[in-house]
């Protein structure tokens, strides 16, 4: 939290001039459409997709690439017609209204360009020196116990990435719930949940090995929310190295 506030403040300052510089000339028309899109989104879509598009009953829309809408037309069609065979209904809204929602939805997953103080090339060297790939996949190589990083710069802001390095437990990514289990025959393991149902749990230990247990085989099954096996790099990186590593991560945009 401490870091989150500090980092957020710094980024806020950096953002202001950028927004002014990149402001389009047709501000009012675009703003009006976006306003309408936001309003319609909140009343028509937000109850399933969440107020920030993070998903709920409906899919997470706050991501740079939508699985079912590869381009603008596909997004428009989905909002208009729904997705047959799913709970996503068609909409009786006018084409103009649908366009405004689509325009707004596209902003949900956008990570605004930021002024990054570091140097991405030097950051790549820090990444290699720290052996980040031991746990994180990049370009098809690396470990699998942490989130993949191929397009991390398209999904996460610099502020978030900085926080993740300095205080990893401040915001643990979904899908990485840390667990501690002790089996009835006395084995103790830590790792994260892969899947779970009423009777069984699938679990990956920190070496990346997959385990599947029936719950009756376990003595302890402890959920550790807001815990991460990744330690803080606050003491291991200079502030310049941190800037460089953040710049490198921000540059990872995945296949365009």
């Amino acid at each position: 939290m401490r870091w989150g506030v500090a980092a957020g403040g710094a980024i806020g300052v950096a953002l202001v001039p950028l927004v002014v510089l990149s402001a389009p000339t047709v501000v009012t028309a675009q703003t009006a459409e976006m306003e309408q899109g936001k309003r319609l989104y909140e009343s028509q879509c937000g109850s399933c997709h969440g107020p920030l598009g993070n998903g709920g009953r409906g899919a997470n829309l706050a991501q740079p690439r939508l699985r079912r809408a590869s381009d603008d037309q596909a997004l428009f069609n989905i909002i208009r017609r729904g997705i047959p065979g799913t709970e996503m209904p068609g909409s009786p809204l006018t084409p103009r209204q649908v366009s405004s929602i689509a325009a707004y939805v596209k902003t949900l997953g956008r990570v605004e360009p930021e002024d990054i103080p570091g140097d991405a090339r030097r950051g790549a060297a820090v990444f290699a020196a720290l052996d980040c790939a031991r746990c994180h996949t990049l370009g098809g190589r690396g470990g699998i116990v942490g989130p993949g990083l191929d397009d991390i710069g398209a999904r996460r802001s610099a502020a978030h990435l900085r926080e993740a390095l300095l205080d990893p437990e401040a915001s643990v990514p979904s899908g990485f719930l840390q667990l501690r289990v002790v089996t009835k025959d006395g084995r103790a393991l830590t790792g994260f949940r892969v899947n779970e149902d009423a009777f069984s749990i699938q679990f990956r230990d920190l070496s990346g090995r997959l385990h599947s247990f029936w719950k009756y085989e376990l003595d302890v099954l402890e959920q550790q929310w807001q815990r991460s096996p990744m330690g803080s790099y606050a003491a291991r990186l200079t502030s310049e190295q941190t800037d460089d590593l953040v710049a490198y991560l921000v540059s990872l945009k995945g296949a365009q």
């Binding site: 109850s47 969440g50 107020p51 009953r57 065979g85 709970e87 209904p89 068609g90 149902d197 009777f199």
Partner: protein, 526 residues
């Protein structure tokens, strides 16, 4: 021999005659499942006991029928005389040969463009009466099919689908009427419950669940808000033939999350209504939640029970409500007798002596976001509870999941979402589910089985000392009805959004459940 078998199979559907007297006396033929909840009393309990707590661990799949739709498969099948009748989403019906699972006929409906349903284009099952099958559709029609062939006898419009109306409920067949409810509480419809003539499809009566000008209760709606008042009726009710009363739950007022545009108690939303089935006139009502702003439809299955309460024999109706409270009412008068939480809930500080909730204002949707338990999917929902006279317990699948609600605009336009909030989940905890066994006269917890995600499966209990349930992770399982010990489980491979049933086929007991895109049946090895 081959010819004989074939003849038996072919002869079965032709003999499918389900006069009212058979449904009335459904308890005397537990080998069939003749109406949505198994009987008019809606206990979803079977006296079949071939499959029981001593042998259920040997239960195994018999046949599986796959559907093509990827919509939620919410059917509660009916079984009569060797044939199973199911619906398939969005609005299709199929008759299956009970021995083999092979289709005998299919009704496939061509649907118009522009259907809006809040929560999937789903259907929960058919009703049977005499030689007809009755099916509601998402384009808000009621269709009567020939039970032998699936051919259409009649097809009538219940309401205008373009306004947000849909029929997802399994109709209820009474002596000479087909009772049909309506969905659309998220679209500003004005709710109603209808009765139709089984032979002609003519409407016999309509009870508006939101009273119009001049009708009692109209003054519980400010201004013209009653016109968009919601109070839908999308879950099948119960019937008491001796009292000749029809019991039905009603849903949320519209808009779901904004109260100030509809000041007042908003009758008869969030109520249990008791109607005279001949005329559709209201005999009594009990409103669980006046002026709801959490979208807690009181559209659950009312369970009828005769029991001694306070030293007196009483005719009761049990109602585990989506709002997280367990209610017991007198079903003759509607008098409130018992109410207490059976699940985590924060929207009410308690109930007063008349059962009226004391609401927690901090949970009302706001611009900053207000956390409430349960979220609008409820502590319970449309899926069925079950009461076992053998254990004298009522079983309920319970959802434990909060939501944070942000106010949003709600401007009424026909056929468009009219709700007024956005929902965010609660981070830092897993939502949970429980199969809970409650004391029927108090709602006290007797035992529970924790499951992973909040469930959408209904329950069925049997005289074999079992209760059957399913999970979102695809487990279908049987628990000991007395202790909650899980005695058998099967991974179906798809989430269970349906109620189980049981029946006999050639003298053997089967269990049926829809899961994922499959209808599965189970039996003991021969």
């Amino acid at each position: 021999m081959k010819t004989l078998v074939l003849m038996l199979v072919l002869a079965a559907p032709a003999a499918a005659q389900v006069p009212y007297a058979r449904i009335l006396d459904a308890a005397s033929e537990p080998g069939n499942w003749l109406t949505y909840s198994g009987s008019y009393g809606a206990q979803r309990y079977s006296t079949l006991a071939q499959i029981n707590r001593d042998n259920v661990d040997r239960l195994q799949p018999a046949w599986i029928y796959q559907i093509r739709s990827l919509q939620k498969f919410e059917v509660s099948p009916l079984v009569v005389d060797g044939v199973m009748y199911i619906t398939e989403p969005p609005s299709d019906a199929t008759a299956l040969d009970l021995r083999t699972g092979r289709p005998i006929w299919r009704y496939r409906r061509a649907l118009p463009e522009g259907i809006v349903t809040c929560c999937g284009q789903v259907n929960r099952g058919v009703a049977l009466l005499d030689d007809q099958v009755f099916l509601g559709t998402v384009d808000a029609h009621l269709v009567a099919l020939d039970a032998r062939t699936g051919r259409v006898r009649w097809d009538i419009e219940v309401a205008d689908y373009a306004m947000g109306h849909a029929v997802t409920v399994a109709p209820l067949a009474l002596q000479d009427k087909i009772i049909v409810g309506i969905a659309g509480g998220e679209y500003g419809i004005r709710g109603f419950l209808d009765a139709y003539d089984p032979t002609t499809g003519e409407r016999r009566w309509r009870f508006w669940t939101v009273p119009g000008p001049g009708e009692p209760g109209h003054d519980t709606w400010s201004g013209d808000s009653w016109e968009r008042g919601g109070a839908p009726t999308w879950v099948t009710g119960a019937y008491d033939p001796e009292l000749d009363l029809l019991y039905w739950g009603t849903g949320n007022p519209g808009p779901d999350f904004i109260g100030e545009v509809r000041r007042g108690d908003n009758l008869y939303s969030e109520s249990l209504i008791a109607l005279d089935p001949d005329t559709g006139t209201l005999q009594w009502y009990f409103q669980f939640l006046p002026h709801d702003v959490h979208d807690y439809d009181s559209t659950q299955v009312p369970v009828l029970l005769d029991a001694e309460l306070g030293g007196e024999p009483r005719q009761l109706v049990l109602f585990p409500n989506r709002n997280g409270f367990y209610y017991v009412l007198d079903r003759v008068t509607g008098e409130f007798l018992v109410g207490q939480p059976f699940a985590r809930q924060t929207w009410a500080l308690g109930l007063d002596a008349d059962g009226r909730p004391i609401e927690n204002p901090e949970t009302i949707p706001s611009t900053d976001g207000a956390l409430v338990y349960p979220d609008d999917d409820g502590a319970a929902n449309w899926y069925s509870p079950s009461y076992s006279p053998q254990t004298n317990l009522i079983y309920q699948n319970v959802r434990q999941k909060g939501g944070i609600y942000y106010r949003a605009d709600a401007t009424y336009e026909p056929g468009k979402i009219y709700m007024g909030a956005s929902r965010r989940g609660v981070t830092g905890e897993d939502p949970k589910g429980f199969l809970r066994a409650l004391h029927p006269l108090t709602g006290d917890l007797v035992w529970e089985v924790e499951v992973h995600s909040p469930p959408w499966a209904g329950l069925m209990s049997t005289a074999g000392g079992l209760v059957f349930s399913g999970t979102m992770e695809g487990d279908f399982f049987a628990a000991d009805a007395l202790t909650g010990d899980v005695l058998w489980r099967f991974q179906t491979g798809g989430p269970v959004y349906a109620n189980p049933i049981t029946y006999l086929s050639e003298g053997r007991q089967f269990i049926a459940i829809a899961a994922g895109s499959a209808l599965l049946t189970f039996a003991l090895p021969e």
